[in-house]
């Protein structure tokens, strides 16, 4: 049974059994903890908290907080990853993590059953980077709520403050994103969703610390100061029966750095009992290289652009994971997941992290209750 309710939650449509067009807002609170650990010795530990409170029949305010404690973080100066395993000094750094990022989000939601509008702002701060953004999402239900049209927009205004003494050509990094979506219930057990996204970034898009070291060339990483991309995705959700559902999605992305990618996700969920749902998910990702990345060792001193990040080169990745949903009570839910991520071999990964490929495990645990 849980799968059935989950199915409709996933596609954000109301079943024909419900005649009321009342608001779907609920007071809720959640606590979570997420981890990421990889073989390049990057470890991230993130406690999260969220609180959503109805202030009227149709309005709700929400607050989310995420704290990321990162070891082997962004502030590594130099020509290769050289992540530091230990520091010898007259006294040790008092902090437990190399960097800590605090990221609160505030939002307000209006929902009258047919229209849902969310407005919000996000702020994150870490040692060398401040992020600010505003976002808006609007969903309109149509066709007796068998169809939902959505539009989302976000604009960020981020700023670098490098910890090393370096004057950047620009210290801002602004990004805007536009999403257009349509959800359509085809049959009571089958729905599809299509999303078009447009992304534009401008400002300082490289790392302030990394540089390419090759023979007598030592050049700071430098990317173009603008990047425009678009993505097309299609997702289908199919309910086999009351206890089994599958969702399959495909996403195509391309941008003006000549990076294009394909992502395929498949997830199967099964109700093991009226409380426990679990399943398996698989993801495959492949991307091409950017038009400015060179083979390691092939940069020239008068090249316009220099890259050290493996995500500017071609690579594939695979993810396999297991999600868990456990209904503690009528209003309480525990969700968890564990995923294993693996990239293909990549020369930039080898050069930077001294490992052939990235292997990572990430986990999530979240307890949510309505009140």
């Amino acid at each position: 049974m849980q799968i059935k309710y989950l199915f409709f939650a996933i596609i954000s449509l109301v079943t024909l059994e419900i005649n009321s067009f009342a608001s779907n807002l609920k007071d809720s609170m959640s606590f979570g903890f997420n981890t990421y650990n990889d073989n390049a010795n990057v470890n991230v530990y993130s406690p999260t908290f969220s609180l959503f409170k109805k202030v009227s029949h149709k309005w709700m305010l929400g607050f989310k907080m995420r704290i990321d404690g990162i070891t082997a973080a962004s502030i590594k100066n130099g020509a290769n990853g050289g992540h530091v395993d230990a520091v010898t000094g007259a006294s040790l750094n008092e902090n437990n993590f190399d960097d800590v990022r605090y990221a609160p989000t505030l939002m307000a939601t209006y929902d009258d059953g047919d229209n849902t509008l969310t407005l919000g702002g996000y702020y994150s701060t870490e040692k060398d980077y401040d992020g600010k953004s505003l976002f808006m999402n609007y969903v309109r239900q149509l066709n007796q709520q068998n169809t939902a049209l959505g539009i989302g927009f976000s604009q960020s205004f981020d700023k670098w403050s490098p910890v090393f003494d370096r004057a950047l050509p620009k210290d801002n990094r602004n990004e805007r994103k536009l999403d257009l979506s349509i959800n359509q219930l085809i049959t009571p057990t089958f729905s599809i969703q299509g999303v078009f996204s447009y992304m534009y970034s401008e400002g300082f898009l490289s790392s302030p610390y990394h540089y390419v070291l090759q023979g007598d060339i030592a050049k700071f990483e430098n990317y173009p100061d603008q990047r425009a991309g678009e993505a097309y995705s299609l997702k289908s959700v199919y309910l086999f029966n009351d206890a089994n559902a599958m969702n399959v999605s495909y996403r195509y992305y391309k941008d003006d750095w000549d990076i294009s990618s394909h992502t395929i996700n498949i997830e199967e969920l099964h109700d093991f009992s009226h409380r426990l749902t679990s399943g398996l998910r698989l993801r495959y990702y492949t991307q091409t290289k950017s038009n400015f990345v060179q083979e390691i060792g092939n940069y020239n001193a008068n090249d316009a652009y220099f890259a050290t990040d493996y995500r500017m080169s071609a690579f594939d990745s695979f993810t396999i994971g297991i999600p868990f949903i456990y209904k503690v009570g009528r209003k309480n839910k525990l969700t968890a997941s564990i995923d294993y991520y693996q990239t293909t071999k990549n020369d930039y990964i080898k050069s930077w992290y001294d490992v052939d490929s990235i292997s990572a495990v990430f986990t999530s645990l979240n307890y949510k209750f309505d009140f």
Binding site: G82, V84, V87, T88, G89, A90, L92
Partner: protein, 306 residues
């Protein structure tokens, strides 16, 4: 306390300990117990520690201790004898009772106070025999600040190896021992929060020790905590000095780092050759000095701007 993927980080009294090894967490916790035991016995800040009992009984009687407990006392005395007092663990009367480094009562003493206290600094009055440890004159005090972290780092790396570790890293308050993997060990800048160098180790055992004037001082770095026994005051040859030695002899390296900090640069090379160590020293003006790196078993060293 925080867990790494295969390691443990904890603060034991004033010392931050990081342990990484291909061993179970249970063994890492057991290793941490060694540190707690050490702190309980040898901390100058714990009133009922073995060290303070020796200090309280100075000039009165010896304090009986086990063979294990005597090990640090013996090593400290050996280093004092080998260096002819340049390293001297009886410096406690100056560091703890006159300057009072690290305490709320820390102060810059007068010349008269220093002169008087200096008379009680003499490793020759520090006796370690088969059963007990004894300070001959009333008022003498031992301080293992210049050797203790290296000792505990050495103990930990030996413990982890004996427990079957094929690779391990121990960081005891900046005293670092590693083996079994190419670790990247950074050397902290004395001027900023960043690093001035990263050493990539080979898989052979290796030890790092750093002394510096930039973290513990009274009022200013002029009054840092690494005292010269002869003058009972501070030298300013360097802002920071890092010693690197093949092997896992953290105890010796910690003591030599303390000595090296009070060694002028003309004599640094001789010190490096005598103890077969490599030295990176940063003079107060910011000049970098390198000594005796030729035979050091490392893969690479990368330097950054100061």
């Amino acid at each position: 306390m925080a867990f790494f993927e295969n390691g443990l980080r904890a603060k034991v009294m004033s010392t931050e300990i990081i342990l990484e090894a291909d061993l179970s967490k249970k063994i890492l916790f057991e290793a941490l117990d060694l540190v707690k035991e050490f702190e309980a016995k040898f901390s100058a800040y714990k009133e009922d520690s073995l060290l303070n009992r020796v200090n309280i009984n100075a000039g009165i009687s010896g304090v009986i201790c086990t063979q294990d407990e005597r090990e640090l006392f013996s090593k400290a005395l050996e280093m004092a004898k080998a260096s002819d007092g340049v390293f001297d663990p009886t410096i406690g009367i100056l560091s703890q009772a006159t300057y009072c480094f690290g305490k709320s009562t820390q102060k810059i003493p007068t010349k008269k106070e220093l002169q008087k206290a200096k008379e009680l600094v003499n490793f020759k009055d520090f006796i370690v025999n088969k059963e007990s440890v004894y300070l001959k004159r009333k008022g003498m005090r031992l301080d293992f600040g210049g050797i203790g972290k290296g000792f505990i780092a050495e103990k930990l790396i030996t413990y982890l190896r004996n427990k079957g570790a094929k690779k391990a890293l121990v960081n005891a308050g900046g005293e670092i021992c590693t083996f079994g993997k190419n670790y990247n060990i950074a050397i902290k800048s004395p001027y900023t929060d960043e690093n001035i160098a990263v050493v990539k180790t080979s898989k052979a055992p290796i030890t790092f020790s750093t002394s510096g004037d930039y973290e513990r001082f009274i009022s200013s770095k002029e009054n840092h905590h690494i005292l010269d026994i002869k003058t009972a005051s501070q030298n300013h040859y360097y802002s920071s000095i890092t010693l690197i030695k093949d092997g896992k002899d953290g105890t010796l390296l910690d003591a030599v780092a303390t000595m090296a900090f009070n060694t002028p640069k003309e004599k640094l090379r001789a010190l490096a050759k005598r103890y077969n160590i490599a030295i990176i020293a940063i003079e107060e003006e910011g000049n970098l000095l390198f000594e005796n790196f030729k035979s050091l078993d490392i893969k690479a060293i990368e330097l950054y701007a100061l």
